[in-house]
Structure formats: structure tokens, C-alpha cells
């Protein structure tokens, strides 16, 4: 663990009890910091840092056989796997698909979440507690379960809305992506709404009183004061949504039993899973690395670019 910058007096002998106590305290604090951080540091190293390094290493290896039936052995292959990743049209089609998904679904979801949060924070609503719980309830439904449920709701034969589902094929190749978008929106709107709502509640009410005295109405207060002040919360929800979009797996994988339009490379993560089950671990590792990097860069760029806008 790192040394502390708390002034250390251990070099010279303590002259007064006051100093002795300070030295003891500084040493105790240093030990405490080490104890507080060590468990997380160990777990983070073992299950975050090392796996990432391991994936990078695996992605640089390739399997070589001596003859057709020889024993396989791993040798350094350089960027061979990455060449394959970049030539894999199915993978890039899946990346394009989730980017399109995110470009449509994330703004709709966050727009709704913001609208609901503003309404909850306004004097217009009665029964706020009920709406808060009702909108948040889907968050308690795991992605797999939500996909199973909506899978039934979409199916023409089982749906209680057969008048709609027998005319609109939600599970067809054209619509299934948006059927998934609906499931993801359904699950996460309430969660995002609560994060934005919590930060609305943290705004001191004197600001509103001052604005009212200046003659601002509710819409103006929402637009000019509330929304700018909850931008950090919106950014947070947006980053989590971006990460979630690129990682889509449970919903499409589950819906495969309802829709033949979802193939084994429908989303990037499905492609990773399919490649790993072949099994081609080295290639799957390369997919994972590219995907993690893309997610990281996208979230980071979004975070940085919006932060600049906010401070300007």
C-alpha cells in the first residue's frame, strides 16, 4: 500500500506526549487505510485487472497444430486475431445494429425518464408515491425474465393483445430490434427516472422562490433551472445506458426461442458467446477486448464532451 502524506515525526524522538500521540495516530491511520483498501484492491486485481490483462494476452495467441491430428499448442500470433475481428462482417453488422439501437433507444428512454422526474417534482401530480413505485417496479424484473414475459406478450398466439400482435409482427426481422428496445426501455426508465428525480430533490427550493418572484412559470423553471441542474445525473444515466447498449445479451439471447429473426451474432456480446462456444477462445478474447475498448472509449468521450459543454 502507498505511504501517507500525513506529516511523519518518526525520525525524531517525540518530546511531548502530544507529539507521541500524533505519531501513534498517524501510524494507526496509515495501517487503517491499508486495511480498508486491501480487500477491494485484492478483489479488483483478481477479478477485474488480471482478467483484462489475461484477455489481451489470450487475444494475441493463436492455436497451432502439427499436422491435422497433432496436439494443439498456443503460440504468439501477434495481431492475427484482430485481423480476423476486423474482417468479420457479422461482428461489425452487430456493432452497427446496437449503435443504431442505442441512438434511438437511449434518447427516448432518458427523455421519458426526465419527463417523469420533472412531473414527479412538479406540483401537478397527486399520488406521487404510487407513480414512483409503479414506474420503478419493472427494474425488479431481470432482463431474462422481462424478455420471456414480453416474448409471450409479442407472440400472436399467446398475447392478450392478439388484435395488435396478429397484425404487427413484433418478432419479425424488421421489428425485433425495436421489440428488444421496448423491453430495455420498459425495465430501465423507472431506474433512470429515480436517479434524475433524486437529484431534482437535492436542488434548494430558494432558487425556485427567487425565480417565481422574477415571474417565471413552471415550464420556465423546469427548462431554465431544473434541467440544467440535473445534467450531471442525466450524464450518469446516459453513460450507464451506453455501456448497457453495447453489452446487450440476455434479452436477445432469451428472445431467440420466440423469434427466428435473432441469429447467433445479433449483438456483439452474442457473437463473443457464439465464438467462445465453438470454441475459439483466442478469437473470442479479441472480440471481448475490442468490445470493452469500444465501450470504454465511447463512455469516456461522452463523459468528457458533455462535461466541457456543462462548464462552458
Amino acid at each position: 500500500m502507498q505511504a501517507m502524506t500525513v506529516p511523519s515525526t518518526s525520525a525524531e524522538a517525540p518530546k511531548a506526549p502530544q507529539v507521541a500521540r500524533k505519531t501513534r495516530s498517524a501510524r494507526a491511520q496509515r495501517r487503517a487505510v491499508a486495511l480498508f483498501i486491501a480487500p477491494f484492491a485484492v478483489l479488483f486485481l483478481a477479478f477485474y485487472a488480471i482478467p483484462i490483462v489475461y484477455a489481451v494476452v489470450q487475444s494475441l495467441l493463436t492455436v497451432e497444430r502439427e499436422g491435422t491430428f497433432g496436439a494443439p499448442r498456443q503460440v504468439f500470433g501477434g495481431l492475427v486475431q484482430y485481423e480476423q475481428v476486423f474482417q468479420d462482417n457479422a461482428f461489425w453488422a452487430s456493432v452497427g445494429r446496437v449503435l443504431l439501437f442505442g441512438a434511438v433507444q437511449v434518447p427516448i428512454m432518458l427523455g421519458l425518464a426526465l419527463l417523469f422526474a420533472l412531473l414527479l417534482d412538479s406540483p401537478l401530480l397527486k399520488g406521487k408515491k404510487f407513480f414512483r413505485l409503479a414506474f420503478f417496479a419493472p427494474y425488479a424484473v431481470p432482463g431474462v425474465i422481462a424478455a420471456i414475459m414480453w416474448g409471450f406478450l409479442y407472440s400472436p398466439s399467446l398475447s392478450p393483445f392478439s388484435a395488435v400482435t396478429s397484425n404487427v409482427e413484433f418478432l419479425s426481422a424488421e421489428l425485433v430490434l425495436w421489440a428488444i428496445a421496448n423491453i430495455v426501455t420498459w425495465v430501465y426508465v423507472g431506474y433512470n427516472m429515480l436517479i434524475i428525480y433524486a437529484s431534482l430533490l437535492a436542488i434548494p427550493t430558494e432558487i425556485y422562490e427567487a425565480a417565481r418572484l422574477d415571474g417565471a412559470n413552471n415550464v420556465q423553471i423546469a427548462w431554465r433551472i431544473k434541467i440544467p441542474l440535473v445534467v450531471p445525473a442525466i450524464i450518469l444515466t446516459a453513460v450507464f445506458s451506453i455501456i448497457g447498449t453495447l453489452q446487450l445479451l440476455a434479452e436477445p439471447q432469451t428472445l431467440r426461442s420466440f423469434s427466428s429473426a435473432i441469429n447467433s451474432t445479433f449483438t456483439p456480446n452474442l457473437a463473443v458467446y457464439t465464438t467462445a462456444s465453438v470454441p475459439n477462445y483466442n478469437l473470442a478474447a479479441a472480440f471481448s477486448v475490442v468490445l470493452a475498448l469500444a465501450t470504454f472509449i465511447l463512455s469516456f468521450v461522452f463523459l468528457k464532451s458533455t462535461q466541457r459543454k456543462v462548464t462552458q
Binding site: A32, F36, Y48, I196, I243
Partner: protein
């Protein structure tokens, strides 16, 4: 916007959010055949009896596999989130309340950990665990779930705002050790954040799909989500599983809804910590 327009918007969306869950409830009280032959979204004359029949079949099918899945999920998510919360809280607290070299570096590493998606880690974790011959064990799903960079982030922000430095100084003068002060005084002040971290970690583990999917072969080790997924993908061969999947889905979301309702008071106030600042 007028009052009635606002109520109308919220009313329409209440239907959108609750109808699927309502459908799950009403359908759980029907026999396989009744799903298509009776009024959708409503109960039948003998709904009560059918519901308990369905429940009994759910818990007896495949030698009580479903009950096992529930217990497994409770262990993965309950114990995992509890330990994960303590570990994250200790780290976040140290980053907030002590000055030491490398503090910002550690915090930045943790922050970038927030941006690394958990699913991207699933495959390398599988490769590492298979080297150690630990795939297809509970450890393979349990251990990686203990890490919550977002929990550390939340704990740091909350500790910085809610644990006054003077209080720690006073505790020191009283002769209380750092560790004892943390567990007796600071955790109490951080309670809303701790409940929030616990709940969201609990949900994250309960919902985790890729890690168990890739790690586990033995059905007896499955969490409930993976189990229901497996049943759902067998429906075309075993049609009787359909009603079990529906009842099972209902049963599996009840614990989460109860947890959220019971702890609502605490996490609502802790939730703001992540967004504000």
C-alpha cells in the same frame, strides 16, 4: 402543462409499466390450456386453486430444481452483495476520509473500472477459472460478483459529504481506533449509501446472465434467471414447461420487489449521491 394532462401522461404509462406484470400474475393462475382459451388479463373461476397447483408443480418439477435455483440466487446475490457492500464501503471511505499518496490514482482506476462492462470480463474470467479448474462451481459466479467499482464511487462521495472530519478527530481523542470508528460511527452515517449500494449490487448479481451462462454446466448450480432461461428454451420440446416458466418468473421477481419496498426509505435518500455533485 395542466394538471389533468400530467395525470393522463402518468396514468397511460402506469398501464404500460404494470400491465406486463399484471399479465404475469393472472396467467400464473391458469392451466396451460386456459392461457389461450380464457379472457386474457383476468382471473378464471378457479384461479386460486390453479395457482397453488401451478406452484406445487413448479417446486416439485425436476426434483425441486426451482427451489434450488432460488436458494442459489439468494446466496449469489444476498451474500455476494453484503460482502461486496462492506468491501466497497471500506475502500470508498478510506478514499474520502484519509489523505495518502496514490489516493487519486486509486480512485481513477476504480472510476475507469466503472466504465468497463461486466460482460466483457465474463469470458476472460471463464478462461482463468478453467485454468484453475474452478468453472462449474459456485465460486466461479460468487467471487467475481464481490467487486463493485460503482459502490466504491458512491461510498466515497457519500462518505465525503456525510461523515464530518471533526467527528473522526473527536473519536481519535477519545481513543477509539480507526477501524472501530468506521464500523460503529461512520457506517451509521453512511447508512443510506450502504443500503443503496447493497440493493443495486444485489440486483446486478441477481440479474447477471452472461457470467453464470458461461461458467455453469450443472443445473443444480444455476441462479434462478439462468434456470428459467434454460426451461424457456426447452418449451418447444416440453410444452408443459410453459406454465412453469410463467409461474417461476412471477415467483422470482417477488423477492426483489419485497426488498425494494422494505428498504425504500433508505435507498431513496442514498440514490441522489451518485447523480448530484
Amino acid at each position: 402543462m395542466s394538471r389533468s394532462a400530467a395525470m393522463l401522461v402518468m396514468g397511460v404509462f402506469t398501464l404500460y409499466f404494470l400491465t406486463p406484470i399484471w399479465w404475469l400474475l393472472t396467467t400464473s393462475t391458469k392451466t396451460g390450456g386456459e392461457i389461450t382459451s380464457t379472457v386474457p388479463l383476468w382471473f378464471t373461476a378457479n384461479s386460486f386453486g390453479t395457482f397453488f397447483d401451478n406452484l406445487a408443480r413448479l417446486f416439485t418439477y425436476g426434483d425441486g430444481l426451482f427451489g434450488r435455483w432460488l436458494i442459489n440466487s439468494a446466496i449469489y446475490a444476498g451474500v455476494g452483495a453484503l460482502i461486496g457492500t462492506i468491501v466497497a464501503a471500506m475502500c470508498g471511505y478510506a478514499l474520502a476520509k484519509y489523505e495518502f499518496k496514490g489516493r487519486e490514482a486509486i480512485f481513477n482506476i476504480v472510476l475507469s473500472g466503472v466504465l468497463v462492462p461486466a460482460t466483457a470480463l465474463a469470458l476472460p474470467l471463464f478462461l482463468i477459472f478453467s485454468q484453475a479448474n474452478l468453472t462449474n462451481t459456485m465460486w466461479a459466479v460468487f467471487l467475481p460478483s464481490l467487486v463493485s467499482p460503482f459502490g466504491v464511487y458512491l461510498a466515497r462521495i457519500y462518505a465525503a459529504a456525510s461523515v464530518p472530519g471533526e467527528l473522526l478527530e473527536a473519536a481519535r481523542l477519545d481513543g477509539s481506533g480507526e477501524i472501530r470508528t468506521f464500523f460503529t460511527v461512520s457506517t451509521r452515517l453512511m447508512a443510506p449509501a450502504l443500503v443503496t449500494i447493497f440493493l443495486f449490487q444485489f440486483v446486478a448479481i441477481w440479474n447477471n446472465f452472461f457470467l453464470p451462462l458461461i461458467m455453469l454446466r450443472d443445473q443444480a448450480l444455476f441462479p434462478v434467471t439462468l434456470g428459467l432461461y434454460a426451461w424457456n428454451s426447452q418449451i418447444s420440446q416440453i410444452p408443459e414447461l410453459r406454465i412453469l416458466v410463467i409461474v417461476g418468473a412471477l415467483v422470482s421477481i417477488v423477492p426483489l420487489i419485497i426488498a425494494f419496498l422494505a428498504l425504500q426509505r433508505f435507498w431513496s435518500s442514498g440514490l441522489g449521491a451518485g447523480g448530484v455533485k
